[in-house]
Structures are given as C-alpha cells and as structure tokens.
C-alpha cells in the first residue's frame, strides 16, 4: 500500500494527454508528493467524515464522461449504466488523476453493476468495499452498517499508520454539517420566483464540489457564492426569465448529463429549481448529530438515512420529493434514469404515482452520456415543458 514516501508515478500514457489533463495530473502529483493523502469514493453513502478524520482528502470518482466508455467496454458488458462504465473506464485507461493517485478507493455494495465492477476495479487499484445493507428498518441492518463504518476507520488507520480519534471525527462532522448547511442555503435561493440561479449553474457547482481537496476552503467558497447570489437576487438580478417553468429533476446522479438534461430544460423555457438526486437536498438535509456521545455511530446513522433506490423499501424518497415539490413550487418533475439503472427505473413507476397524485405532471427520460439521443431528448423535454 502507498504511503507518502513511495514514488508517485504518472501513467504510462501521460505524454499523450492534452495540456489540461497533464496539468491536473501534475497538480495532483504535487499534492501527493507534498505528503497529501487521497481517498476516492463512489457513492453518497460513503461516510466522508471518517476519511476527513484520517487526514485524507476525499474525492468523488463517479465517471461522468463517455470518453472512456469504449475502453471500459473492453472488459465490461455494454448494457451497464454509463456511470459504472465511465468510472471503471477512467481507472482502466488511467485518464483520471484522482483515480490514478488515490491511495484507496472506497465503494459500497449498492447496485449490482457497481458492486461487481468493484471486483474488477480491485485488480487495478486498492479498494475497500463497505457492505451497505439493502434496507434500514431492521436493527441488524443498522448494526451491520455501523460495523462496516468501524471497519473503514480501521482500514484507514492501517493504511496510513495512524489513530483516528473521536475528537477528529467530531470536528469533521461539524465541518461537514457546515458544508451541508451552506449547500442547503444555496439550494434554497432557488425558491425565489424567478430563482436566483440557472439550474445549470447550480448543478455544475454541486458537481465541481466533489473534486475538492480542502473541505474548509470549499465550505467558505460555497458560503461566499451563496451570499453573492443572494445579494444579486435581492437586487433583482436573476439570470432566469420570469415565465420559466419550474422543474424538479429527480432520479439517478445527474453529474454526467448536466449539458444534456439541465441545459436542454433551460433552453426550452424551463429552469431547474431543485436537483433531487443523491447529491441534492434530500441527502444534504440529513445532519450528523455532532454532540452524540458515540460520534462514529452518529456518523453511521446519518448516512444510512439516505434515500436511494438501492434500498428497499424506499418510501421516504417519495415523501422527500413531494416536500421539495411544494417547497420549490415546481410546475413539473422530470425523472432522469441512466440507461440500465434498474433500481431507479423500476422505482420510477411509484415515483410517477407519487408525483401525479400531488397534481404535478411527471415525465421519465432514459439517457446515457453519449450524444446520440440529443435530438430525441430535446423533443421530449421541449414537449413536456409546452404541456405545463
């Protein structure tokens, strides 16, 4: 396993990379050379406080580009979710500096595609798999998850030869809670009519946040952005037209389809007022009880509350979405399912009922990271907005 003294090597293909990619590789290499610790994660269930408390930077490694999918398909079957293929493809083709320089990649047993992909990823990079239960209503599921979080803590302690103390965990929880509050404050600016930001800006900001090395610096920048956008909105400077239809986007993580879905909505008379994926409000509103006597257990409990379709049952997701629909006064809900994501795709039938019961129009789209369906997607989204 890596420690700060092992040589840090660039990928074999480094010379073929374009300037921008080379720069980011060099940046991450410098970070590592200066003794920086890097841990990659792949899912919202990863208890980031534990990584923070190990003195490591946690970076999201979810693949969002189709660039490396052909490479991934040399190993993986084609009919898998693009997020799974892209994540593996970046590791396989050594094109992502964060994946390449991670000391450890943490994954969870979520959907079948990810779970089995991690076995292959494990051949390329050191991985640690947390066994996520399939539900949270049974006591042994909660206890089992807590034990998994303990095991992650111990794995990091072994990896870096350190002790993770309750104090550092608590401090990490305070900072992450502050980040969650700053994120929520930014989301809430979209309640205004018209909203303070374009949805594309909001989605891109959330996405960029997953690549931050320094949580504190990121919190501060997010707080500043929130202040700035609030002030602009109060001065009447919304970038969004008054008549724009207010859309809530729910479903799979949208980091890879911001241009395809987010921008298309906004080009056709809509605006994304709520991003209801696992990086959105339904996840960020869960805080860690930072004063709990057993802080590690409090951290484990907070993460298990996340309402993802990999859980069964997952009723609270519908409840949360209905609350957001009201809070953000949405005109329509678009569910974005990534191709071959069975859990969200199946759950969509129930989401459709939950949304329509509240009297709000609903449309599901299935898409991937390619540009092949751009025209069809544009027609669907434009037609949906025309009906609102």
């Amino acid at each position: 396993m890596t420690d700060a003294s092992t040589p840090i090597e660039l990928p074999r293909t480094f010379e073929e990379f374009n300037e921008q990619r080379r720069q980011s590789f060099l940046k991450v290499k410098d970070f590592k050379q200066a003794g920086g610790r890097l841990v990659g994660y792949l899912c919202s269930y990863t208890p980031l406080e534990v990584i923070d408390a190990a003195g490591a930077s946690a970076v999201g490694l979810c693949g969002t580009s189709d660039e490396v999918i052909p490479a991934a398909e040399e190993v993986l079957p084609a009919n898998l979710c693009p997020l799974v293929k892209s994540t593996y493809g970046f590791a396989y083709s050594q094109k992502c500096p964060f994946t390449h320089f991670s000391d450890l990649i943490v994954g969870e047993t979520t959907c079948d595609g990810k779970k089995k992909m991690y076995e292959l990823l494990g051949e390329l990079k050191p991985t640690h798999i947390l066994h996520l239960p399939q539900g949270r209503s049974r006591a042994h599921e909660r206890e089992g998850w807590y034990q998994e979080v303990v095991a992650l803590k111990e794995a990091l302690e072994r990896l870096y030869g350190i002790r993770i103390t309750d104090d550092t965990l608590r401090e990490a929880a305070r900072l992450r809670n502050r980040l969650r509050r700053a994120t929520l404050a930014l989301f809430e600016l979209q309640r205004a009519e018209p909203p303070a930001m374009s949805g594309v800006e909001l989605m891109s900001t959330m996405f960029a946040g997953t690549f931050n090395f320094d949580v504190r610096a990121y919190v501060e920048s997010l707080e500043r952005l929130g202040e700035q956008r609030r002030a602009e909105a109060e001065a009447g400077g919304s970038p969004v037209g008054a008549g724009a239809k207010r859309i809530l986007v729910t479903g799979c993580p949208v980091g890879g389809v911001i241009g395809k879905v987010g921008a298309t909505i906004e080009r056709n008379g809509g605006v994304v007022v709520c991003e209801d994926d696992c990086g959105g409000e339904r996840t960020n509103r869960f805080m860690v009880d930072e004063d709990a006597p057993d802080i590690l257990r409090a951290i484990a409990e907070r993460y298990l509350k996340i309402n993802c379709s990999v859980m069964t049952p997952n009723e609270d997701r519908f409840v949360a979405t209905r609350e957001m629909m009201e809070k953000y006064r949405v005109d329509g809900v678009i569910e974005c399912v990534l191709t071959a994501c069975h859990t969200f795709n199946v759950e969509a039938a129930r989401m459709e009922c939950a949304v329509e019961e509240a009297g709000v129009p609903y449309m599901k789209i299935e898409t991937d990271y390619s540009s092949g369906d751009l025209g069809q997607l544009e027609t669907r989204i434009a037609a949906f907005i025309e009906t609102l």
Binding site: P361, T379, A382, E386, T387
Partner: protein
Amino acid sequence: MASDEKSPRLGIGLDIGSTATKLVVLGADGAVSHTDLMPTGFSSVDAAARALASLEAAGFAPGGGARVVATGYGRVAVPYADKVVTEITCHGRGAAHLFGPEGTVIDVGGQDTKVIRLRGGRVAKFAMNDKCAAGTGRFLEVMADRLSVSQEELSALARTGEPTRISSMCTVFAESEVISLVGRGEPRENIAGGVVESVAGRVATLVASAGGSAPYYLTGGLCDNGYVVERLAALLGAPVTTCSEARYAGAIGAALAALDMG
C-alpha cells in the same frame, strides 16, 4: 414580421417528419385552404425550401397576415418560421381539432411512435418510442421490402394469413428472422400477418404504458392502412378512429398555433 392589415390572416403549419413533410394552410375561420405532402428526403433544409415553393405557387406566401409554425423533427430547419413547436403539442392539438378534446392519440410515424393523452383538448401526458424502429412505419417498410411487396400489398396479404409469430423486437434481427422464415417456406401471407401483429402489438404496449384509454385516434402515415388499424383496435379492445386528414394532424396543429399568433 409585422402584421399587414390588408393581407388576409392565415395559419400555415409545416410538419417536417423523418419520412414526409406535410403542409397545411388554414383560413382565419379554421377552414383548410391548402394541403401538400412531399417526401422529406435526406435534408430537412431542402424540404423546408420545397415547402416554401409549394406555398408560393399556391398563392400563400408567408409574411403579412400569414404566420408560419414549424414542427416535426426538422422544425429547426425552417428559416421562415415565426415559431417552432414540438410535434407532440401539434399532434395533440391537430387530433383534438379533427376528433375531439378527450381521448388517446396514437401517432405511428416513419421513425417513431407517439402516444398522447388528451384532456380538454390539451396534451396531458405522452410517451414516445423513438429509440428503435419496432412499432413504427419503418418496421413495416423494411419487412415489405424483404417480402418484395408494397405496404398496401403487405396488408392485403396479412389479412388472408395465419400470423406467424415474429419474436425479435429489433428491426435488424426481425429482418433476418423474416428471411429465414421465407427460406423455410413459410407462406408469405402468414409472415405478413406476423409483421402486422408485431407492429400492432408494440404500439398497443406503448399505449398501455402511457396509460392510454378509449376513445383512440390514429394519426400519422398508417391511417390509410385499414388492416393495421383493425388489428390495433382488436388488441386495444376498442375502436380506433382515423381519417385521411389524420396524416396532417401535426401540420393542422401547427397551423392552428400559427392562427393564434394573430
């Protein structure tokens, strides 16, 4: 375009579909003054230019009181359009105009199939099959070619046959299935029956998944294909109403939207 008081108010609807381009001109009272239908060809820009020539020849040049709304997959390729509206909205509106404000519109197009639920003359919900050719006009076209018959002959054959089950959904696989059925000496009318069953079955499934309910209206290129309409009605368990003008539904909806612009 500034509205010219002297020129009469007209609504021009142009529907550039993947296979055919449809043109409808409505007078201020909503009566049809002119229709035209031409193959789209490989370029929607070119189709838009030919549609303009047709309008000019018939004395309905855009401008003045004549507004143009473009729809269909080539809708963005019409430089003289005053407005662009999606084919879902236009088909819904056109069908409501032809048939009535409540019901389910089934539009079987050249490359895609749409199911539109109408409520109060407006689109309440829609579903589209636009990722594969199964259940579209394209599927019938490919299979008719394979059997060396025209689409009309395919329907006529199908009516007399005992449908052979075509199990492949994908047009490419279904095509090889048909080739091997022909090779095995399966009667052509049975294969033709299977082809029609396959299309009608796919369309009926899409209707069900969109939560469609009677009354059903069929628009698009298959509205003159009596046998397909019959089989579809049988599978849906309710009559499917259609008429020859129904292939212009999208253009009619666009022309109505153009009239709204005043």
